[in-house]
Symmetry: C2
Subunit: 146 residues, 2 copies
Amino acid sequence: MLRISKLTDYGIVLLVRFAQEASGTTLTAREMSEATELPLPVVSKMLKSLASADLLASQRGSRGGYQLARQPEAVSVAEIIEALEGPIALMECVAAEGLCDQESHCGLRAPWQRINSAIQTTLTRVSLAELAADTPPRHQTTLAIA
Amino acid sequence: MLRISKLTDYGIVLLVRFAQEASGTTLTAREMSEATELPLPVVSKMLKSLASADLLASQRGSRGGYQLARQPEAVSVAEIIEALEGPIALMECVAAEGLCDQESHCGLRAPWQRINSAIQTTLTRVSLAELAADTPPRHQTTLAIA
DNA sequence: ATTTACAGGACTGAATTGGTCCGATATGTT
DNA sequence: AACATATCGGACCAATTCAGTCCTGTAAAT
């Protein structure tokens, strides 16, 4: 299916949320959980990951929380994905040489690398800011019925 | 890691092998297993998948085997991936509407779809023939030592 | 008949993913 | 000092997915 993991997806949703706030706004895990309707433990986990990848800055203690470490224009989707799930590599052999034991007699490594870097470029060109801009404003338009 | 599955990878390796033969060449699962050094059950399984996706044509019985169903120029990498692991979709919500229960309040679907289709286009533009051409000829250059 | 090969499954073990929970630490408030 | 609020850094577990095997049936050629 060529998909990114759900957790990574959540991470991006969270970052987009931050990008939609005024620059420098600090938000807690609880607040983010409420805003995104994602379970607190999950949000908490992902915020920690994002912080340790230096995409978010964290502040501990009461009055603590998280904020974007950089301007949303300066963060690419590729970077986020790489931070959360490692190098963008369609298959092992693309990530690094010597990982695939078929390498000697397969010969597909070169073409795959070209394809892979095209995809990587695509994802590098999209910034968090663009994602956030594209996303409709957050006020509730319709409520679930029943 | 944004990767395709190993099995899909094997499938592509097999197709490339066919593409390197003279057009219309029939090969058995056993022959393919030997050529690629992949275990026969795996090769067998993947050839069956490829056949049922109409990427290969199969012939039963003695003197049977598989051959490319189309010219390698007319088969795209995107098509192969889709045949083996379903629609190319970075995340559920891209594959079809209504799959993600966050859809109403997430708003990232549109931007993701643009990104996704860029990737899809990239993969559509690469043909099996190109993969095969890129791949060095198959004679053994070095042998594993010890 | 017998042999060769594909068809279509079921099945299993291992790895990954998605998600929860807990104890420790830092920081502001009273 | 004590307390409340938050993050930090794990361990942990259930469920799914993945990779790989195997078996029974059917088609075709000799």
